[in-house]
């Protein structure tokens, strides 16, 4: 197969139909497409709101922690998300003052959803970021040097990828111990192999490009070539994949919380809230529905954006 591709390249087959029906013009930036595409734009707007809110609310919580004034964490929220149990307010349906209703302890569900947002955002960006860093480095090095190093890495990633992410994450977070950070560590361990694979594949195609060969000819060190040429050029398709992946991390993180793994009570977590409300469904429908729909909304916007980014990068936009 490869020989044929090379042959075609050498002869220079050009399909003039393709050249203007399929390709995205190179002089237009990806973001120009994103903001002109309804699907990607909706995704981008919701993600932007989610990130901005998470930064604001997260900073308030951190500052509140330093000042020993936890109330600062809910200064922007309609109600105290960590209020002590109040039987009088228990399981109130949605109303003007409690837009999403209240839970069994009489806490405002909307406030709890907003209070938990920074933890989900941090989980998504930290896990994918660390996975790109570790997986990217290992994958690039393995792809670049090849040989037994490559072979070994591929078998290790195969072994990791054989275990479904959720199940490995359950096992790891139970082993590491309860808590938010153990879930983050577990998810990072689950997530790096796929990025190692992605970067390895990219590296294999970049390795033989002219500019890399020239650099090697001029005696640049392998390390320098990897950081200067290979890693930066491999990142584009990875970004499109990662955009989709943020949503998957949030989904997995919530599912873990649903199973009682992760953030410990009384701190709110979307998946845990949905899980608590489940036994009251469908009578107290707002209890489980609003946290679940929040997860759905955030995940779907990452998918909307990521799906479109992949279309743009793979040149499938006009189809």
């Amino acid at each position: 197969m490869k020989a044929v591709d090379l042959l075609k390249k050498a002869i220079g087959i050009r399909k003039d139909v393709d050249s203007f029906s399929k390709r995205v013009p190179e002089n237009v930036s990806i973001w120009y497409y994103v903001i002109h595409d309804p699907q990607a734009l909706i995704g981008l707007i919701i993600i932007a709101l989610f990130i901005v809110w998470s930064i604001v609310e997260g900073s308030l919580q951190i500052i509140g922690g330093y000042l020993k004034d936890p109330a600062l964490g809910w200064i922007l929220l309609p109600h105290n998300p960590l209020a002590p149990p109040n039987a009088a307010l228990s399981l109130k349906p949605p109303s003007l003052s409690y837009l999403f209703g209240t839970n069994l302890e009489g806490e405002d569900i909307l406030s709890r959803i907003l209070y938990a947002a920074p933890k989900d955002a941090t989980a998504a960006f930290l896990v994918v970021g660390l996975a790109i860093l570790f997986g990217g480095l290992l994958g690039t090095v393995a792809g670049y040097f090849g040989g037994w190093l490559d072979e070994a890495l591929m078998r290790i990633t195969d072994a990791f990828l054989a275990i479904p992410g959720l199940i490995l994450a359950i096992a790891l977070s139970i082993l590491i111990g309860p808590g938010y950070y153990s879930v983050l560590i577990a998810l990072t361990i689950v997530w790096w192999p796929i990025y190692a694979r992605l970067f390895r594949g990219q590296t294999l195609t970049i390795k033989y490009r002219g500019y890399v060969e020239v650099s090697r000819l001029f005696g640049e060190s392998s390390l320098k070539i990897i950081f200067k040429h290979v890693f930066p050029n491999a990142i584009d398709p990875v970004v499109a994949y990662a955009a989709l992946d943020f949503g998957t991390v949030i989904l997995t993180y919530s599912t873990l919380a649903f199973l009682g793994i992760g953030v410990q009570p009384p701190y709110p977590e979307w998946g845990a809230m949905a899980s608590n409300g489940l036994s009251f469904f469908p009578g107290v429908w707002w209890y489980t529905l609003f946290p679940s729909l929040t997860i759905l909304l955030v995940v779907i916007s990452f998918i909307l954006l990521g799906d479109r980014l992949q279309d743009i990068i793979s040149g499938r936009l006009t189809y």
């Binding site: 096992a171 139970i174 679940s292 759905l296």
Partner: protein, 331 residues
Amino acid sequence: MVNAVITLIMLVFIVFLLVHIILPTPQAMAKVYIGGTHFTQAEINAIIEQYGLNKPLYVQFLNYLINVFHGNFGIDTLYKVPVMYLLGKFIPITLEFVIIAIILQVLLGIFTGSVAGMWRNRVPDWVIKALYLITWAMPVFLLATLLQFAFAYYAKVLPPFNIANPLMIPPKTITGFPLIDAAIEGDWPYFDSLLQHMVLPVLAIAFAGFGITTRIMRASTIDVLDKDYVKLSYMKGLSSWQVFRKTVLRNSLIPIITLTALTFGFAIAGAVVIEEIFIYKGMGFYLYQSTVSLDYVAILSTTLIVGISVIIANFIADILYAVVDPRVRLE
């Protein structure tokens, strides 16, 4: 084949490492092998001797590897029976409904993906995309809860939980797969009850997972439609439907084989949540119980078993791949 075996050994090694990180001393390990809470020092020493728990690590790993291939994982702390016995009981139950769900999901994905690909950027494509985006992004527990509410509590056409009617006496265990056992025994009322209880978990897994199949099938259909051999197929004078059936479908199905092995892993993971919601007592329910009771041996053994079954599924996919694609067959 060689790769699959190396991956398998690597998988066991990773789980072995995890076991040793949590149970660093021979004593701690021995306690897990005995199970229960009361041990005498003599008992522990006997177990350490018996399993060679004080030997160097590489010897222990070899022993562990041998144990794994003999199905010897240790004792469950909750049920006080060997983990393998429980897994042997629970795995067929999960495997049965997961395989049915995957078949449904793949058929659904192939159909919707082909339609979306053939009518790309037109109404059918948009409708299908909206549908699978929602089911894909929806947390599995919400999807399962909504199904349970709609069909079991609201319409009252299907039972909300359990594997079968608990008032009925299950048939003798022969293969471990409830449906097959009921069929062998000729216990049709029980068979019927099994089927009814299986519908909702199967639908939950199939709906949660079909989006990925649809998406890949759509992309694959579009890629194939772009190929010159499809143009040549049209050039013969075939109608669009004939071109699709004779040329497009067979070629665009090729990536679905590999994908199905992949979705097998997702489906098993989804089963953990779904079995809890539908109180469908299979492997996922067992794993969930083990996480609650912090039963390390059970958790790691289940993880290992799932990993092994996914590797086997991938291996089968590779063979099927060669059957379908002549280009692979001859290389």
